[in-house]
Amino acid sequence: MPSFAKNLQKFFVFFFTATSVVLVVMGVSRIKKSETLLEAFTPAPGSPLALNTLGSTTIKGDSVQTPWGDAVTSITVKNGKIIAATMPSIPDSPPSVYAVPILIDQAVRAGSANIQGVSGATYTSIAFKTSLESAISKAETQGQTIVANAPTAGSITTAKPSVPRKYRERDREQDDEEHEDDDEDEWDD
């Protein structure tokens, strides 16, 4: 075989080997990258951040089933870092986009709410009538006098108020014997 053909053959062998090695390395690194991305899967609010998205990639996450349909999150990646993420948007779910405050005070006062507690309510957990009533009856056994919706005079107060401040203030506006103690909400977080 002429040496030229031999060299050409060598060249081709080397060239294709090198090319395939490069391709394999690229493929592996891509797979690796997507693995770490999965780990760092970061759905975050779709805040309109001013981002430099040059050279970035947007990747959609798996869709997750919800009672209202499938939710999909996407992340934007640049140089191996997540620079943006969209929250899983849940289609047609009641308050999925915007927190709509619904007044419950009236329902609670009327005793018609089937709610046993309110999370995040600092004033007290009491969110329904029966509980309020028991609190009042307990307060009364401790020597307090509480008359609903009527100012009371000369009531006896104890050091540890048992009725939530919210209701105390409303029901006993005239009572100026409030305690400093009442203003402490020490363990909020």
Binding site: A40, F41, T42, P43, A44, P45, S47, V64, Q65, T66, P67, A85, M87, P88, I90, S93, P94, P95, S96, V97, Y98, A99, V100, P101, I102, L103, I104, S112, A113, N114, I115, Q116, G117, V118, S119, G120, A121, T122, Y123, T124, S125, I126, A127, T130, S131, S134, A135, K138, K160, P161, S162, V163, P164, D181, E184, D185, E186, W187, D188, D189
Partner: protein
């Protein structure tokens, strides 16, 4: 049979509902609960000069012997600080005290206050050494711990809800085998709610920047301070998390506020815990695990 109790401990009203016990046994259970809360208050309060925590806070840079419970609590706090790269830091006590919130009184913050990295531990002797001027506040995890400990004390009660300033632990069922319906308070209005879930055998906590706040020298503050920049955190105004324990729910809810929306959702998604966040614009961010537990509010108030 359903009994409701309200008593006062740790500076706030504590509401316990007991289901399925005769009144006399329910009374006994609640008396137990009250003891647990008072013990935690006595040990970990930054509002009582005689508490074990305050003795530590006043130990001024020297080695101080503490009980194993307090030792573990501070260690847990430090672990959380390391996890969040210092966004959470029990040294927040100094900042809160400088706002006039809790002891010590008239506390003046140093210009470069100490962090969790300045704490030293002697594991064998249960000694802790604070840096000079360092004030610790572990309330972020202690309140949940107290609620969980109370839950354990009420092991034999078929169904209960413990609600401490809006952090809730439930067990079993409410009346008629129904789950406990727990609403989430609207950040803007204490008389309104934004959603409700059916909760069974879980802890649920909502942290909000609206809860404990004030103003000092014309600057507004609230109690959730990102210790990286030592400013009250913003971005998330209300964070609700549900977990197997109230401690975990409470901790994760507080961290969600401290970390801000992007990091918070990343952390919560990794944990897989049901969560519900409201950002500054009023947008809701929640996962499908939370959505599955949700109960339409209208079905709860129109009956």
């Amino acid at each position: 049979m359903t009994e409701h109790y309200v008593f006062h401990s740790m500076g706030i009203p504590i509401h316990i509902t007991i289901v399925g016990l005769p009144k006399i046994e329910a009374d006994e259970a609640v008396a137990k609960a009250e003891i647990v809360f008072n013990e935690y208050d006595f040990r970990f309060s930054r509002f009582k000069p005689e508490s074990e925590l305050m003795a530590l806070n006043m130990s001024n840079g020297s080695w101080h012997k503490v009980g194993v419970e307090l030792f573990q609590v501070i260690k847990k706090c430090v672990a959380l600080s390391a996890e969040t790269d210092g966004a959470f830091d029990p040294s927040v006590g100094g900042i809160l005290a400088s706002y006039g919130y809790g002891l010590p009184e008239n506390f003046i913050l140093q210009s470069n206050p100490p962090t969790y990295r300045d704490l030293a531990f002697n594991d064998r002797e249960l000694l802790i050494r604070l840096a000079p001027g360092q004030i610790l506040e572990p309330a972020c995890i202690v309140k949940g711990m107290a609620i969980d400990a109370t839950g354990k004390a009420l092991e034999k009660v078929p169904g209960f809800m413990i609600n401490v300033g809006g952090d809730i632990l439930t067990k079993g069922n409410y009346e008629g085998d129904s789950v406990w319906n727990i609403a989430v308070q609207a950040p803007s209005n204490p008389d309104a709610i934004v959603c409700a879930v059916g909760l069974a055998n879980s802890g649920m906590a909502t942290s909000g920047v609206y809860q404990t706040k004030g103003e000092q020298n014309g600057k507004k503050w609230h109690h959730l301070v990102n210790m990286k920049n030592r400013r009250p955190a913003n971005g998330v105004v209300s964070a609700t998390v549900i977990a197997e324990t109230c401690e975990r729910a409470d901790t994760e809810a507080s961290l969600a506020i401290l970390l801000g929306p992007i990091q918070a959702t990343a952390r919560l998604e990794r944990s897989g815990l049901p969560y519900f966040l409201i950002d500054e614009e009023g947008n809701v961010h929640k996962n499908s695990a939370f959505a599955k537990l949700e109960v339409p509010i209208q079905s709860l108030i129109n009956n």
